[in-house]
């Protein structure tokens, strides 16, 4: 469903050109949860934006269900749901208004949007505060509204950027349940996180990213076999020690 091939992106820092993503290649299939793991600044978010077609790559490409991100960004966006830790809500709108607004943005017809709203409200337990202004909701409630928003257009692919950041145990549990649900309904999911312990519980396969480069990729069992380490954290530390420093391309 998602193919990332030799994807590369560089930015300018003063007169230096820094490779944020360096020839990244991976694939994610239906019903699979792929963990794109790495510390802050590894290039995870940049990769997500390039997959969605909002940030053009310098070279390489990303394809979603056969659509190439550089050629058909709108077709790709329509197939993707985005959940981000930094996503907020409109304080003066109610969750109902917010969800229907986003359904409209994604071109969902009003009848289908109303149906979707009912289904998601039941699934995430939003009924209690569906018509309350978002400004009055708790952090956990706001987060549920954001999860609901990403599902309103029933996307086949879900991209999650640091979904548990800033959440307590109960909030994180909602995310875990949500991801499990996505897997069971056959969606392709990419979870970007630096919380390796959580990723270990959530994902089927992992890509370890550092300085924009994919250091290793595989299932937990494969990685254990390759490294001899038990946890993702140990593996990651071992990989980082062996990896070369950040690439700066001179201008």
């Amino acid at each position: 469903m998602i193919s990332v091939v030799e994807l590369t992106k560089s930015f300018h820092a003063g007169r230096r050109k820094i490779l944020a993503v360096d020839r990244l290649t991976f694939h994610v299939g239906a019903g699979e949860v792929y963990g794109l793991l790495g510390p802050n600044g590894a290039g995870k978010t940049t990769t997500l934006w390039m997959i969605m077609g909002v940030l053009p790559p310098n070279s390489g490409y990303a394809e979603v269900e056969g659509y190439r991100s550089t050629n058909a960004p709108d077709a790709i966006k329509a197939r993707i749901g985005l959940v981000s830790a930094s996503a907020g809500v409109y304080p003066w709108l109610t969750p109902r208004e917010t969800l229907l607004f986003f359904a409209d943005l994604y071109g969902v017809p009003p009848d289908a949007a109303a149906e979707s709203l009912q289904r998601i409200t039941r699934m995430l337990g939003l009924a209690e505060y569906l018509d309350q202004r978002c400004a009055t909701l708790s952090t956990g409630q706001k987060q549920r509204v954001n999860l609901a928003r990403a599902l309103m257009h029933d996307p086949r692919i879900m991209l999650m950027d640091e979904p548990t950041r800033g959440l307590d145990v109960l909030g994180s549990k909602v995310i875990f349940d949500y991801v499990r649900h996505l897997r069971t309904v056959g969606k392709a999911v990419i979870v970007c996180t630096h919380r390796l312990d959580e990723a270990q519980r959530l994902c089927d396969r992992f890509g370890l990213l550092h300085h924009g480069r994919l250091l290793h990729e595989g299932t937990l069992a494969e990685l254990r076999e390759r490294t001899g380490c038990e946890s993702l954290t140990e593996m990651f530390l071992q990989f980082i020690q062996d990896s070369p420093p950040e690439t700066a391309v001179s201008t």
Binding site: F11, L55, T70, A87, G88, W92, L93, D104, L105, G107
Partner: protein, 725 residues
């Protein structure tokens, strides 16, 4: 049509969401309703007070004068002042009679009174300094003159005053005028009595006259300033909230992840900001009108009183102001990452915006070609002229069109910037990445860059055309200068923009080869279109699209006479070929290609033809609406040829031949007339000519179509789904 309706309905729904969000915020409501309800009554009260104070100052002023003793006052100063008063009144009456016999009645001089205080034994300077009195008069009797009447014995008067006090100066002038009048009358009387000639070498009389156009006070000059403040007040908060606010709330990322273009998002935000700004202006207008009507200040503030027409005019101007400011504010706040940052950006803009408002108070500043395309100053001066009833239609159209162009460019800039900050911030990028020259070349300019180029070209064209209008040097050099200006505006501007965006020269300007037969068809069209363009020109005049008068036609004739003495090759090159090639370079090259992302097929042809027509109407010194329809017609044909051939070269050929033919006929009219080919400007052409022209045009069009049918079919097959911004 269905898709367009759906898009409009979607835009309406997006706007409704933005408005709902904005209007639920109490801060907006306070700005919208409470501010005007409080501000105008307060302004009215202070204005009334100020009016009353002014009136009191000019009619009932009482001057306080201090002297050293009551005795000396009664003996010397009071008789002198009383006599001076009588002399001045007599003089005023005589002047009044003279002026009423001549140019009309003058207003009577304001009355004033004097109250005296005496301070025996203490220095007068101290009392003047302590503000006990406005002026002190120290009197010292001089040696008695035999025969002088009582009360007119000579006396030395020392006038003590405060130099920095206006009231003390007015009191001083009051005393001075009377004492000088007495002295003057005494000198004349003595001269007369001595038998000498009593007249003076220079007799002076004062004849005050009113200015030609001014009324006592007109609020019309202040209205632009009030409009700026009103619309800015309304637009600032929603503009920040809907752009920087999205960033601060964290809703921006989810918005740009949605499959909707930034332009559509910005259009909805623009509509919302504009609505709030206009609503604020309406509330302000209602509050202002009610205050003025209830306080009966209408007649004092406006020359003709506060009428419904005046209110409608102010409202129309408010919409124009709001349209401009909403776009500018959105463009600026799109750069901001937070409310605080947005406010920091807007403060200098607000100060800058007030400056043109103050400029409108300058009576000598008139709206001309250059000022009519100067952002903001154009609408400020236009609103002043409109309210004073002195607006010229040409300048009005120019100011409105240029304002719309600038607003569109600002929205285009906002759509380029909006949201990218969030991406860059999350992706280690910086602003320089956004504006950096792309590494890979592009096949076409972006719509935003095209609009921006148009917005830059607009004032450049007027600025350079004004320079050309100075008429320096010979006609020969003038022609070369005009060609250079055309090259700079229509050639250099788009070239610079395309270089900045790394647009491929040949592809970006559609400088592709075209089928040979397409050139033959285009050349034939170049020869056959002029009779139809002429008939369309006459049709436009019949519709009332006419502005040139006999003197302007005579000026054109004089210009043609001047061209006749210059080598024809120079005239043809500078007036026919260079404009044709460069206008095509921009309109059918850069602009046409830049519109491909937003419009399809026929729409590109229509939009580019409309802009082509508009550019031919707007000239720096006058408006030529009669050129609009024929230029649009030519734009449509040129656009169609370019669309079919996917090349600008046949259009250049067509345009150059058309221009050359018209110019050649105008320059050789007498020779053609001698051979029986009369080409009068204001008459229809013979039907046979038109029939031939239509047949040739149809045949040439068919040739172009036939020559390009294979190319077009292939290009439709390989068309990309949609290009990203």
């Amino acid at each position: 049509m269905g898709v367009r309706r759906q898009n409009l309905a979607r835009l309406a729904r997006l706007t409704r969401k933005e408005l709902r969000e904005t209007l639920r915020d109490r801060r907006t409501v306070i700005t919208l309703v409470l501010m005007p309800l409080l501000v105008y009554p307060l302004l009215s009260i202070s204005f009334q007070k100020s009016l009353l104070v002014n009136v009191q100052q000019t009619t009932d002023e009482v001057y306080s004068v201090g002297v050293e003793s009551q005795a000396i006052l009664g003996e010397y100063l009071q008789p002198l002042l009383a006599r001076g008063d009588r002399i001045l009144k007599a003089r005023e009456q005589a002047e009044s009679e003279r002026s009423s016999a001549g140019s009309g009645a003058t207003s009577p001089a304001p009355a004033a009174r004097v109250s005296f205080r005496w301070f025996p034994g203490s220095p007068l300077e101290q009392h003047v300094r302590n503000l006990d009195v406005q002026v002190g008069v120290r009197l010292r009797p001089l040696p008695t003159v035999v025969g002088a009447p009582r009360g007119l014995q000579p006396v030395y008067c020392e006038l003590i005053h405060r130099g920095n006090s206006p009231t003390s100066q007015r009191a001083l002038r009051f005393l001075e005028e009377r004492l000088r009048a007495v002295n003057d009358a005494s000198v004349r009387e003595r001269l007369a009595n001595s038998g000498m000639y009593p007249g003076l070498p220079a007799e002076i009389a004062y004849q005050p006259v009113a200015a030609d156009t001014t009324t006592p006070f007109s609020l019309a000059t202040l209205v632009p300033l009030v409009l700026i403040l009103m619309t800015i007040t309304g637009a600032v908060y929603p503009a920040i909230d809907l752009t920087a606010g999205e960033r601060e709330r964290g809703t921006l990322e989810t918005l740009i992840a949605a499959p909707i273009s930034r332009m559509a998002l910005l259009a909805a935000k623009y509509a919302a900001v504009l609505t709030v700004a206009v609503l604020t202006a309406v509330v302000n207008l209602v509050a202002m009108s009610v205050t003025i009507l209830s306080s009966r200040l209408g007649a004092e503030l406006f020359p003709g009183g506060l009428s419904l027409v005046l209110i409608a005019e102010v409202f129309a101007l408010t919409v124009l102001f709001a349209a401009f400011f909403s776009a500018i504010l959105l463009a600026l706040t799109s750069f901001a990452r937070s409310f605080k940052e947005a406010q920091a950006y807007l403060i200098p803009v607000m100060l800058l915006a007030i400056a043109p408002g103050l400029l409108s108070l300058m009576p000598g500043l008139r709206l001309n070609g250059l000022l009519a395309v100067t952002p903001l100053l154009n609408i400020v001066l236009l609103s002043r002229d409109l309210l004073e009833g002195t607006a010229a239609p040409a300048m009005m159209v120019l100011a409105v069109v240029s304002t719309i162009v600038y607003a569109a460019a600002a929205i285009a800039l906002a759509s380029r910037v909006f949201g990218n900050d969030a991406l860059l911030y999350a992706s280690r990028g910086s602003w320089s990445d956004l504006f950096r020259r792309p590494e890979l070349p592009r096949e076409a300019p972006t719509p935003a860059a095209t609009l921006f180029c148009l917005a830059v070209m607009f004032p450049c064209f007027f600025l350079l055309a004004n320079v050309a209008g100075l008429r320096v040097g010979s006609v020969h050099s003038q022609l070369i200068l005009n060609a250079a200006i055309t090259a700079a505006v229509f050639g250099l501007c788009p070239l610079l923009f395309s270089a900045a965006q790394r647009v491929r020269l040949l592809a970006g300007f559609q400088l592709r080869p075209a089928p040979w037969w397409a050139f033959v068809g285009a050349a034939s069209l170049g020869t056959s279109l002029w009779p139809m363009a002429h008939e369309i020109f006459l049709f436009g005049r019949w519709l009332g699209l006419a502005s040139l008068d006999a003197s302007q036609f005579a000026a054109v004739e004089r210009m043609l006479d001047a061209f006749r003495v210059i080598p024809p090759a120079v005239v043809l090159l500078t007036l026919a070929v260079v404009p044709a090639v460069l206008e095509e370079f921009f309109f059918r090259g850069y602009l046409f290609n830049g519109l491909r992302d937003r419009f399809r097929g026929g729409s590109i042809v229509v939009v580019s033809a409309f802009l082509f027509g508009l550019f031919h109407v707007l000239t720096p010194s006058l408006l030529t609406p009669e050129r609009f329809l024929p230029s649009c017609f030519m734009g449509l044909v040129l656009g169609w040829v370019c669309y079919r051939t996917r090349s600008v070269l046949p259009s250049m050929l067509l345009h150059a031949i058309h221009n050359g033919l018209l110019l050649g006929m105008a320059l050789n009219r007498d020779r053609l007339a001698a051979r029986g080919w009369n080409l009068p400007d204001a008459e229809h052409l013979p039907r046979m000519w038109l029939a031939v022209a239509v047949v040739v045009t149809a045949a040439a069009g068919a040739l172009v179509w036939y020559a390009t049918r294979a190319t077009n079919a292939a290009s439709e097959r390989i068309r990309q789904p949609h290009r990203a911004d």
